[in-house]
Amino acid sequence: MPSKQNLVVIGNGMAGARAVEEILARGGRDLFNITMFGDEPYGNYNRILLSNVLNGSQEESEIFLNPLEWYRENGIILHVGVYAESILRRSKCVLGCDGTIEPYDKLIVATGSQSFVPPLEGLTLPDGRYKPGVFVFRTLDDCREIAEYARGRGRAAVIGGGLLGLEAARGLQNFGVKVDVIQFAPYLMNQQLDPQAAAILKTIMERMGVGVLLGKNTTAVLGEEAVSGLRFADDTSLGCDMVVIAAGIKPNAEIAARCGLSVQRAILVDNQMRSIDDPEIYAVGECAQHRGNVYGLVAPLWEQAKVLADHITGHKPDAAYHGSKIATKLKVMGVEVAAMGITEAADERDEIVQFTEPKKGTYKKLIIRDGHLAGAILLGDISKAAYLMQAFDRGTPLPEDRLSLLFDIGAPAKQVTVQELPPDAQICNCNGVNKAAILACVNGGCHSPKAVMEKTRAGMGCGSCKSMVTEIVEWACDGKLEEDPSVHYYVPGVPLTKPDLIKACREQNLKSVSAVFQVLAGGKEDAASKPGLASLLNTIWAGEYVDERDARFINDRVHANIQKDGTFSVIPQIPGGVTTPDQLRRIADAAEKYNAPMVKLTGGQRIDILGIKKEDLPNIWRDLDMPSGYAYAKRYRTCKSCVGTDLCRFGVGDSTSLAIKIEQHLQGIDAPAKLKLATAGCPRNCSEAMVKDVGAVAVEGGRWEIYVGGAAGSHVRKGDVLCVVDSHEDVLKYTARFIQYYRENAKYLERTYGFVERIGIEKIRSVIVGDSEGIASRLDDAINESIAAYKDPWKEAYNPVTPNQFSSLLPVLQ
């Protein structure tokens, strides 16, 4: 066996460590004695996640990739905290700042980059150190110092409106400081976005309390002994207690330049990632310049590290790097962004496909050249990102139907999508994990998304691919999936599934939310679990339920729907959408009397009086003298209807009186999620009954088709036919029985469309119609008990149930 060569790596960041990992994976331990220089006093960590450490969403310990033991285990000598001072090419060795001399046969320069700091007046103290309050954001130590300084400060400025600057701003907000982002360019993230997308992002950021100053050239840092503000070229200034500079990066190529290697912006390398001047010296990552490009993102770095390893180990002597197409998927200030390629059309041959909905923060733009994707920007909704990034990366031709590139219209089920991805499709762009690696991990015995993510690191970067990784693992496990038990709890604060929780409540006679916490959750109250428990206990105990009002969401405490300004919307019951001139007059009078800023017809065929003050609620209810329409609760809401047989020339069934009967039967019934019903007098479906939680559609011959599990909200689904019956009475019977089954078995907030898909319509039909479990009459009795317990909550206008129930502002005693 030939003796081993000395491989020295300068830099222990993401590029250096990754290159070494790739070399080890190709048997590098038998070929080389590996020595690394790292000037930070740690093992190797994921720099991309520093912003998470700053904003508190991850601990420092979570971002380490390779702890110090890893180096020992792999026989690597790591000079921790030692800065490599110079490369002596003639004697082939590297000098460390502590006097270390390491001879090399092969050398990898992976020195990365540093923050680019513009030459600002007043940046430093006379001794050359940064003025207290001035920071860059590059290393774990920077992150710690920023965090320490930010506590208790009033205001911070971030110079740089690129990705890093925005992440720094987000992190700083966490310390309660008011943050302003100063951007030199005329719009934010000008590397990845176009002005239109950037404008939407700016609005979102401002809504989150971050100030954005565009086109501002910072010239000076103000303050004698510490930062007190910034001055700009237009002679304006901004007061701040600290400033974080995130204005770009500068490759660390000095050490290479000093030993005579060709350096422009960074070290010039060939297709094997070798310096163009010295075949024994490689460069990788942000310090390397390949065909004019210097990449500051992680995905190209992974590709470079692979080529370098293939070549240096002789694994694939003809391996070559041909540059990377840059596609990024990230989360900025909580907004999902995917961007790739060019951001503007280059000439009129380029076709632009664009969709914008600024109010929702959604923006999509594709630039298509000769049928291929040349660039794309997705903001807010990035559901199509995986497909587009792949089409971009591979240069595959795009389908003619451009609409389907922006939206999932009639798209195949997600599983098919996951199944159809080719094995080499990169799923995690932070850690460079492809579908094949995830499958291999599942086949190797990891049967939960969590285990796979920990093992492969897929999803452990920015986290944006977690749902996709989960889907692939679920699909690959094919029934052998092991899950975290808490996903099965009915509510997060009580460690029981819904059937177990119901059983425990019945057996131990738990009739109030506080009793459940006391007995089943170790006395620990969980705010988010309260409304779900209240709903379930009401279902279990009906009239015996001990109603604790603090367990209710505000809407259910005051029987109205809270609006963004703290006022409420009032929707009286109008069964079947049939009203009278007298009711309309009362509604009109009430709207005027209580200064309602808006009166609106709802989608459920009712009338919404908006903008009512909390203290006016009992008064308006008294004036209206109509029952509550329950348009604020996880309960039966409404049953809309078409005109039916009375006047319509097509109607084959009396849908209107059926809708009124349904409403009077089921009014106020609580459920895991809201219930919206409809009846239609003929299959023309004017009242959209086929896309309701429950819908009854009249068909010729005096019969009614009952649809369940329909939806036409954020999710669109045509309901499944539960059964066909021939009387109003049977519609009522099966509707009520289905709803009771749903009440007892659905997860909290699970709408019927999810419930029906989860349980399966065949199973539901056999239980509800065929009585396959012998529970039909029990279900009927149970819902009848709840129906009997119905009380119009608006009667609380006459006797409030809690002190100051409807007060929005109370005076003090003295």
């Binding site: 907000q173 506080s514 969980d526 988010a528 505000i554 007060s807 003090v812």
Partner: protein
Amino acid sequence: MTVVAPLSAIPAGEGRTFLVSGKRIAVFRTRSDEVFATQADCPHKAGPLADGLLGGTTLVCPLHSWKWDLASGEPLMASCPLETYPVHLDSEERIVLTLNSE
């Protein structure tokens, strides 16, 4: 110091907003009868915090479910803390509050 109200003015596990020296203050009573006081409006979108859900000393804003610990005002799922005010019960079970400026 301001005598805000008798403890019974606030139902257990809920909050109410009071006008204290011209300033709106949210006062909460937990189910174990501890009292807390914070700024009245959510720092996010000015939601009425007194209308929020309580779990122990955790407060959830009714508009977008931002969360804080009432005892410290520290954010649990939010990007900034709440202003809190010292508040206690006197011998007559009345809620007594001190504005920070007093």
